[in-house]
């Protein structure tokens, strides 16, 4: 056995674990340990600085992992690009988009779908990074997070911000693809003005993912989330066609459903922002949904909840 261990660690025949604790513990080690320990523990590090460190930890982890996984990077860009190139190219003559706000002139169908496709980038990544926390493989991360000495609301918010940061990186990568295909977008203000709109929408969708991760145990894999959350939200929205088209064609139920879809307002917010306009209704719905989703998710992750649920069952 020692030989096997030795070969793994490149120190043949020795027992590094033991050697070290004997050699190190008597002299320097405890001092270092204590000094750093004091630093870590007392006074309870300013919660703001601590929260920022946690945010940095989660963001860098998420981004590094994402960049390592080429497949994920590729599919995050290929997915909206396929919609843009194939779907939109095919339908450009079928759908005539009338001049509706925020547009002031006729626009190409490909231009119309861009905000919706930005939305799907945000939706997909928001769900993915929030739900990743509960998959078996990532279960470890959740347990680590929950034993970190920060309020759970702060941890969940950091996790949400980290996921949203990654969403926005992907959204800008998609902008780059749009530029590659020379889409007629209002480039200069759009790139900048879309940022706060995408940030809010990304937060809202990530918060929805967190909420789904708490309450819906049946969605155990991403396919489930695709079928029951992502696709319905995507299709019941003005991502692919303006909602008045639904109303006009008599699909009233679908139209009404789309009106109660928060994703609808996320897309509107981005669409208006890109053209330098503010859609207050969309903004209000997005912010309100964000608050509700995040609040419920934080409540769901509260350790007290187990007790509450038990009492209900027990009595």
């Amino acid at each position: 056995m020692p030989a096997k261990r030795g070969s793994q660690q490149g120190t043949p025949g020795s027992d590094p674990l033991h050697e070290h604790d004997l050699a190190a513990t008597d002299q320097t080690e405890p001092r270092i340990g204590l000094a750093a320990g004091e630093l870590a523990r007392s006074p309870p590090a300013s919660i703001v600085s601590h929260a920022l460190q946690a945010l940095l930890a989660l963001s860098s982890r998420e981004t590094v992992k994402f960049l390592h996984q080429r497949g994920r990077l590729l599919s995050a860009l290929v997915r909206p690009s396929l919609w843009l190139l194939i779907f939109a190219a095919g339908f450009r003559d079928v759908f005539g988009v009338a001049v509706i706000p925020p547009y002031s002139t006729y626009i190409e169908y490909q231009v119309y779908v861009v905000p919706g496709l930005l939305g799907i980038v945000l939706l997909f990544n928001g769900m993915q990074s929030s739900l990743a926390m509960v998959y078996d493989r990532e279960m470890g991360l959740m347990r680590l997070l929950l034993t970190a000495p920060l309020p759970r609301s702060v941890l969940l918010t950091c996790k949400l911000l980290a996921g949203t940061f990654l969403s926005i990186l992907q959204a800008y990568a998609f902008f780059a693809i749009c530029a590659l295909f020379r889409l007629d977008l209002p480039w200069w203000p759009a790139l900048l003005l879309a940022l706060p709109a995408m940030f809010l929408t990304g937060l809202m969708l990530g918060a929805l993912g967190l909420l789904v991760s708490v309450y819906i145990k049946q969605i155990e894999n991403f396919a489930g989330a695709m079928n029951f959350v992502i696709f319905p939200m995507f299709f019941l929205s003005p991502a692919l066609y303006p909602l008045w088209k639904l109303q006009e064609s008599g699909a009233t139920v679908v139209y009404q459903l789309a009106r109660f879809n928060p994703f609808t307002y996320g897309i509107d917010l981005i669409r208006y922002a890109m053209y330098g306009q503010m859609n207050w209704l969309a903004c209000g719905v997005v912010v309100a949904s964000l608050i509700v989703f995040l609040g419920l998710a934080i409540w769901g992750y509260d350790p007290q909840r187990g007790a509450v649920r038990h009492k209900r069952q027990g009595s």
Binding site: R5, Q9, A36, L56, M139, L141, L144, T147, P303
Partner: protein, 258 residues
Amino acid sequence: MPASPLPEQAPLALAVEEVSKSYGSVKALDRVSLHVARGEFVALLGPNGAGKSTLFQLLTGLFVPDAGRIEVAGFDMRHQARRALACLGVVFQQPTLDLDLSVVANLRFHARLHGMGRGARARIDAELERIGLTARAKDRARALSGGNRRRVELARALLHDPVVLLMDEPTVGLDPASREQLVEYVHSLCTHRDVGVLWATHLVDEAESADRVIILHKGHWIASGTAAELRERTGKRSLRDAFLDLTGEASVVQEEAV
């Protein structure tokens, strides 16, 4: 339920008092009390289903107990959760390293979650050196053997210099040599770093060398004492027989009570 007496002046690393937890009608823990002093190695011995995992979920703040108190280094887990968690180091039963990240990135992640700031770097180096894996710091965790992954997890749990170290069946999946080494190493931590250790296991031989053994069975505290004391009390020759005797007896007592 006879709770083990709490010595007032000793600095307790961990105190669990009269803790109960039920899932529906199943009582997973019934008024369990135990304590771990600084520098003490306490083995929590119990067959599968004894309530060890439930106890660890409560100790790590995943859930709150229905009744009772948990204190880490004097901080109440319910009301001073932040300070209590800051004094707690945990090695989970399931692997929790991110295999796609390097060893040092895994440790850095933890240091940031604990808000360790600039002190983190020196601590990471020191802990890696202690477990003899300095040379592998930049390797992806995936490249490490099972035994080495566990060591990194242990190093991570010690990074913020906890007062108490919780080990939840930490030797699952390790070969006998790594298992023995891990037990010995954690013993040395108690001696040299004054860490209180609560080591949950269903393997009697891991409990043999503990300063104290606590036996848990069907959610009940059954007995506590050194291996020698438990052998003496039951009149058995090995801790294993004493354990079987105590848990066997316990189930009879419980049936009578019901």
